[in-house]
C-alpha cells in the first residue's frame, strides 16, 4: 500500500486507455467506407443470428492482413437476401467481397470492422471470373471435350446416381424409371452426396471416386438435383469438380434443374438435361427408340420376305403359262396338227422325201399318209 502511495508514476486504467483509443478512432473515422477483403471464415451463429467473419487479404496465398468483423443479425439477413437474389449464392466463406464498413472499437472486444453491407455485383463478378477461369484451365488441359466425346452405350441400363435420397429431383427421376420397369429393366444405384453449397464439391468428388472403383458395373453416371432452386450452384463451376467430371471414364449426365447460366460442370458433361424429369425421359427414350427400330426391322424382314415369295409365285405362274402354250394338246385343240416321220417332228418341207410315211396328230386322233408330192417355196 505504501509503495503504491509513494509511486510517482502516473498511469491510466485499461478501460481509460481503451476508451481513449476508441475516442481517437471514432474521431478519426467518422464515416463508413468500402473495403475489399476475402471472407476467410463466416462464423455465422444460427442461434443468435449474428456473424463474426474473419477477414483477410492474401498476397500470393500468404495472409498479409487479417481482422475480425461483425455483422449484426438484422444486417446479416438483409445483406444475405439481397446477395441471394442477385448472385444466386448466399454469403459464403472463401469469396472476395466488397464490404461497406465502419470501424468499431470496444473496450472488451477490441478492434473490428462492422459490416453494414456487401456489394453483390462485385461478388457476382468474382464468381463469373472463377467460372471463366475454370473454363480456360480445363480447355488448356485438353479436357474440355473429353467426357462429351465418350460414347454413350446404346442402352444405358446400369445407372450410377449422385443425388440426395430425399430430394424431389431424385424421386421424380426414380418414379419415371420405375414406371417403365415391367418393360425395361434399368438398374440404378444411389451414391449419396451434397449437391449444392461449398461442401458439395468435395462430396461429389468423393462420390465420383467411389463410382470409379466400381465403374465396370455401370454404363454412365447421373448427377441429379432438383427442388433446390437456383441457389448454391456456383460449386458446379469449381475447377476441381469440373476437372473430375471432364476426365471421368464414364459418360456423365446432369439434371441439376435451374434456369440461370449453364454451369461449367454441365458444359463438360456428356449430356445435360434441364430437369431430372427430362433426364429420365432421355434415358427411357433411348429404350423406346431401340424398341421402335426393332419393330421396323421386323416389318422390313416381313416385307422383303413377302416380296420375295410374291416374285417366286409370279415366276411359277409364268412357267405355267409357257407350259400351257407349249403343250401340244392345246395346239392341236386350236386346229393345228403335228406330223412325224420316224417319230421325229417334221419342221420343214425340205426334210421330206416323196413316198415317205407321215403320221399326223390331231386333237381327236391321228392319220397316216404317204407323201405324193413336195412343193417348196422359193425362199422363205
Amino acid at each position: 500500500m505504501e509503495e503504491e502511495e509513494n509511486n510517482p508514476i502516473k498511469y491510466f486504467t485499461l478501460l481509460e486507455t481503451l476508451s481513449s483509443i476508441q475516442k481517437t478512432l471514432l474521431n478519426r473515422y467518422t464515416s463508413s467506407f468500402w473495403v475489399k477483403a476475402e471472407i476467410m471464415r463466416l462464423n455465422h451463429y444460427v442461434y443468435s443470428g449474428h456473424s463474426y467473419p474473419d477477414l483477410v487479404e492474401k498476397v500470393e496465398n500468404k495472409i498479409v492482413a487479417q481482422t475480425r468483423a461483425l455483422i449484426w443479425k438484422d444486417d446479416y439477413n438483409r445483406i444475405n437476401n439481397k446477395f441471394i437474389s442477385i448472385t444466386k449464392e448466399p454469403i459464403k466463406e472463401g469469396i472476395t467481397a466488397l464490404l461497406h464498413c465502419r470501424i468499431s472499437f470496444d473496450a472488451l472486444y477490441g478492434l473490428s470492422l462492422r459490416i453494414l453491407d456487401i456489394d453483390p455485383l462485385f461478388t457476382l463478378g468474382e464468381l463469373e471470373k472463377e467460372r471463366q477461369e475454370t473454363i480456360k484451365k480445363i480447355k488448356k488441359e485438353g479436357l474440355w471435350d473429353k467426357n462429351r466425346k465418350l460414347k454413350m452405350p446404346f442402352l444405358p441400363k446400369r445407372l450410377a446416381i449422385i443425388s440426395v435420397e430425399t430430394s424431389k429431383g431424385y424421386s421424380d427421376f426414380i418414379n419415371i424409371i420405375k414406371k417403365e420397369e415391367p418393360h425395361y429393366k434399368i438398374f440404378t444405384h444411389l451414391f449419396p452426396s451434397l449437391l449444392q453449397g461449398d461442401n458439395a464439391v468435395e462430396s461429389m468428388i468423393m462420390a465420383l471416386d467411389t463410382i470409379e472403383i466400381v465403374k465396370n458395373h455401370f454404363d454412365c453416371v447421373l448427377i441429379i438435383r432438383g427442388g433446390g432452386g437456383d441457389i448454391g450452384l456456383a460449386c458446379y463451376n469449381n475447377y476441381n469438380l469440373v476437372k473430375r467430371i471432364a476426365d471421368f471414364p464414364l459418360p456423365i449426365l446432369t439434371g441439376i434443374g435451374h434456369s440461370t447460366n449453364e454451369t461449367v460442370s454441365e458444359m463438360v458433361s456428356n449430356k445435360t438435361a434441364i430437369t431430372p424429369t427430362d433426364l429420365a425421359d432421355y434415358i427411357i427414350s433411348s429404350f423406346r427408340t431401340f424398341d421402335q427400330t426393332l419393330k421396323e426391322i421386323n416389318q422390313k424382314i416381313f416385307n422383303s420376305a413377302s416380296k420375295r415369295i410374291e416374285r417366286e409365285n409370279q415366276t411359277l405362274n409364268h412357267f405355267q403359262q409357257i407350259l400351257e402354250i407349249l403343250d401340244p394338246k392345246n395346239l392341236l385343240k386350236r386346229g393345228y396338227s403335228i406330223s412325224y416321220i420316224d417319230n421325229k417332228i417334221v419342221k420343214t418341207a425340205s426334210e421330206v422325201e416323196k413316198g415317205e410315211t407321215l403320221i399326223t396328230l390331231f386333237a381327236d386322233g391321228k392319220i397316216i399318209s404317204r407323201v405324193e408330192d413336195i412343193e417348196k417355196l422359193n425362199k422363205i
Partner: protein, 69 residues
C-alpha cells in the same frame, strides 16, 4: 417321295421349260415332261405358301411379345 429343296425343284422346272422351248422332244415325252413340270409348279407353290405362313406366324409372335405394355 424324294425330299427335294425348293431350289432343286425350281432348277428342274427351269430345265424342263428350257428343253420344251427348244422343241425337239418327242410328243409322248413332251406330254410326260409337261405333266412333271406342272406338278413341280404345284409343289413349289405349296412350299411358298408354307414359308409365307411360317414367316407371318414368327412376325406375329414377335409383335405379341413386344406389345405387352
Amino acid at each position: 417321295m424324294k425330299t427335294e429343296t425348293y431350289t432343286q425343284k425350281f432348277e428342274e422346272l427351269k430345265k424342263i421349260v428350257k428343253d420344251l422351248e427348244k422343241g425337239d422332244i418327242a410328243i409322248d415325252e413332251m406330254t410326260e415332261k409337261i405333266k412333271i413340270a406342272l406338278s413341280l409348279i404345284q409343289e413349289c407353290k405349296q412350299s411358298l405358301n408354307t414359308v409365307n405362313e411360317d414367316i407371318s406366324k414368327i412376325i406375329e409372335e414377335i409383335y405379341l411379345a413386344n406389345d405387352d405394355y
